[in-house]
């Protein structure tokens, strides 16, 4: 199958899932006993006109299925309504998505760049002290609750003063030069990225090691070695390419895990990401915001899986829909 045909098919396949996700999130929240406009009605700075507009936009006076249709239509147009503090949901979510993407991309980049060599090394040095050390370390880090680890890191930041105590920017951010701003953001990103990387690293290393061991034990690798191809060449030219494929499939899952795991880490670090946004929205029962961030989070996840599958197709042409 040609690559682009595969890509189109794959995109078409995710459309019904997208649809079902919107259905799921809409009905989950509508089934809850919370009045979607209760918070807005309590806020004196929101005019009765806005509330009326919202009632109309959500179609609260009509049956649920009509409400869903209205909501979906508005959502596709980019009109997600207002938060309880009278800002537009779409503007609020936009910056948060970028922040979460920044966090996730850094994490994925670092965890891959570290996990793949370590996994390969552990598999090549199977059953040596190095391999055992890696196995022990990865199980230990898999067992640490992410929020607990984040708290410990905050403690470290507080004791040493090397890193800022959460947030994304310093208070004098707007006075900085562009270079200074970039530096400031990176400085703030360091600890959350470190926490998330360490946690996703451990499962990735294990997976990479297991794949590599599988491939190294396969017939064709044994055959290549028997023929006298150097071990280095076998590992890097033949085995690695095959061992890496399952890891690419994992990329989508990793992204999913990151979105979820990041919520707690973002919360502890007070990092203005999507996870923290949804938490705040849930705590204030800000229905518009909850619904929008839930759907957007799912979109990002589906997109992540899509990208992973396309990448896999590019590295491994045998893949079919």
């Amino acid at each position: 199958m040609k690559t682009w045909v595969y890509i189109i098919k794959r995109i078409l396949m995710s459309l019904p899932i997208l649809f079902m996700v919107t259905l799921l999130s809409f009905f989950l929240i509508r089934l809850s006993p919370i009045d979607p406009l209760a918070q807005m009605k309590l806020n004196p700075s929101i005019s009765a006109q806005t509330i009326e507009q919202e009632t109309k936009r959500l179609g609260l006076d009509k049956p649920v299925i009509v409400q869903y249709g209205l909501w979906l239509k508005n959502f596709i147009k980019g009109n997600m309504g207002y938060c309880t503090d009278n800002t537009k949901v779409s503007t609020k979510i936009k910056t948060r998505i970028l922040n979460t993407l920044l966090l996730s991309l850094f994490t994925i980049f670092f965890s891959w760049i570290i996990a793949i060599p370590i996994g390969v090394l552990a598999a090549v040095n199977y059953n040596t002290w190095f391999d055992k050390l890696i196995t022990v370390l990865s199980s230990v880090f898999m067992a640490v609750p992410s929020f607990f680890f984040a708290i410990l890191m905050l403690l470290f930041a507080q004791k040493t003063g090397l890193f800022p105590l959460g947030g994304l920017t310093s208070s004098n951010f707007s006075d900085m030069t562009i270079l200074g701003q970039i530096k400031d953001v990176l400085w703030h990103l360091a600890l959350p990225v470190f926490v998330l990387t360490t946690i996703s690293l451990s499962s990735l290393v294990r997976q990479m090691r297991a794949n590599m061991l599988d491939v190294l034990n396969s017939e064709y690798v044994k055959f290549a070695i028997a023929k006298g191809v150097s071990f280095k060449k076998v590992v890097f030219k033949h085995a690695l390419r095959n061992a890496i494929n399952p890891i690419i499939t994992l990329l989508g899952f990793e992204f999913a895990g990151l979105l979820s795991g990041a919520a707690l880490t973002e919360y502890v670090f007070q990092y203005p990401g999507l996870g923290k946004l949804i938490l705040e929205a849930v705590m204030q029962s800000d229905i518009n915001l909850v619904m929008a961030s839930l759907v957007i989070g799912s979109f990002m996840l589906i997109l992540g899986n899509l990208i992973a599958d396309i990448l896999l197709k590019l590295t491994d042409p045998r893949v079919r829909v």
Partner: protein
């Protein structure tokens, strides 16, 4: 039975896995007899002792002579200079610690009424081995009661999600065609929502006026609802390959019903995978519950769970000045680590394909 014994011997051979097994055994033993190990009852709260540090235990007296373990009470004083409450030991009165001491009354397994506890102190002693939290809850005792929630919630959720996932995946894989497509798309839709987002949303729409038992049950079902989909996909994949085996064709030819083929002949073949998946998914359920309770959306006070005990760690000053409040985090770590190690070993034993 012989098979089970064999299985156990194999675990015993691996030192690390055996240690993990022993650790888990003790953890569950502790929570089973929580009232016996606890010092204060689960509804104990003494607000006058908020943030009392752990009692120090001494075995040497002033003249450095060996004595039976004893401890002192704390006196609370208010420091006017820095406006803080300080605890100082009251050295005037010694209290000896006692084994199998008489304490509060409780019913063991709701059957035998007794007041014997593993540890206790002489009358008049406020014994808090791991100090108190802001509400004056005894941290040491609550570790046992909290464990009852944290360590069982995962298993209970698995008891719901695994049968559902197995049957769902079994039907989907065996029937195939349009049914398979629709069922799998639904499962994928649930998997496409970031699980933690779903978790906090489901937990937050729970009505607030619920008894603690209802809340516990609902959190179990939420965890199960999120967990079954991913599992059903794996089972479906396995069923797809099993259903083409000859023995299945034979049973079909004899005329067994579809229900019988799925439940009696196909799903049992996936049992070793199910056992592996259960041990490997308990930790994620434990972590999910602790995360949820940490945020205040899970188990609510005054009930204890390791997650909501860790809520205290959100306060920065608590981590620095009151490190005893972090003990539940260490217990979560130990429990999850042991489950992971044991799960890996079980996988090695049951699944000959994976390398050690």
């Amino acid at each position: 039975m012989v098979k089970f014994f064999d299985f156990f011997l194999k675990i015993k051979k691996d030192k690390v896995a055996f240690i993990a097994f022993i650790v888990l055994f003790w953890l569950y033993f502790f929570i089973l007899f929580a009232d016996f190990f606890a010092i204060c009852p689960d509804n104990y709260s003494n607000r006058t002792l908020a943030y009392q540090p752990p009692n120090n235990i001494y075995i040497l007296d002033k003249n450095n002579k060996l004595k039976l373990p004893y401890t002192y009470n704390y006196i609370k004083t208010f420091n006017k200079d820095n406006l803080s409450i300080e605890y100082k030991q009251d050295r005037s009165q010694k209290y000896r610690l006692k084994l199998f001491a008489h304490g509060y009354k409780y019913k063991l397994f709701n059957l035998f009424e007794t007041d014997i506890h593993l540890l206790g102190a002489e009358k008049g002693c406020e014994l808090h081995l791991l100090g108190c939290d802001i509400n004056g809850f005894d941290v040491y005792s609550r570790l046992f009661f909290g464990g009852q929630v944290s360590l069982t919630i995962g298993f209970l959720a698995l008891l719901i999600s695994f049968p559902i996932g197995a049957i769902y995946g079994g039907i989907s894989g065996y029937l195939g065609g349009a049914v398979d497509k629709i069922l799998m798309r639904i499962a994928e839709a649930i998997m496409s929502v970031p699980s933690f987002y779903l978790l906090i949303i489901l937990a937050s729409i729970l009505p607030s006026e619920m008894t603690s038992k209802q809340r516990f049950a609902l959190i179990v079902s939420i965890l199960a609802f999120i967990g079954w989909a991913g599992f059903s996909r794996v089972i479906r994949g396995m069923v797809l390959s099993i259903k083409n085996q000859e023995y299945v064709k034979a049973i079909e030819t004899i005329g067994a019903s579809k229900k019988r083929v799925i439940l009696k002949h196909i799903l049992p073949q996936t049992s070793s995978y199910i056992i592996i998946a259960i041990t490997l998914s308990v930790p994620s359920y434990i972590l999910a519950e602790s995360g949820l309770s940490f945020l205040g959306l899970g188990i609510q006070l005054p009930d204890a769970s390791w997650g909501n005990m860790l809520k205290e760690a959100q306060e920065f000053s608590n981590i620095i000045y009151r490190p005893w409040l972090l003990t539940p985090g260490i217990l979560i770590f130990i429990a999850v680590l042991s489950f992971n190690v044991l799960g890996d070993k079980i996988r090695d034993i049951l699944d000959p394909k994976t390398l050690k």
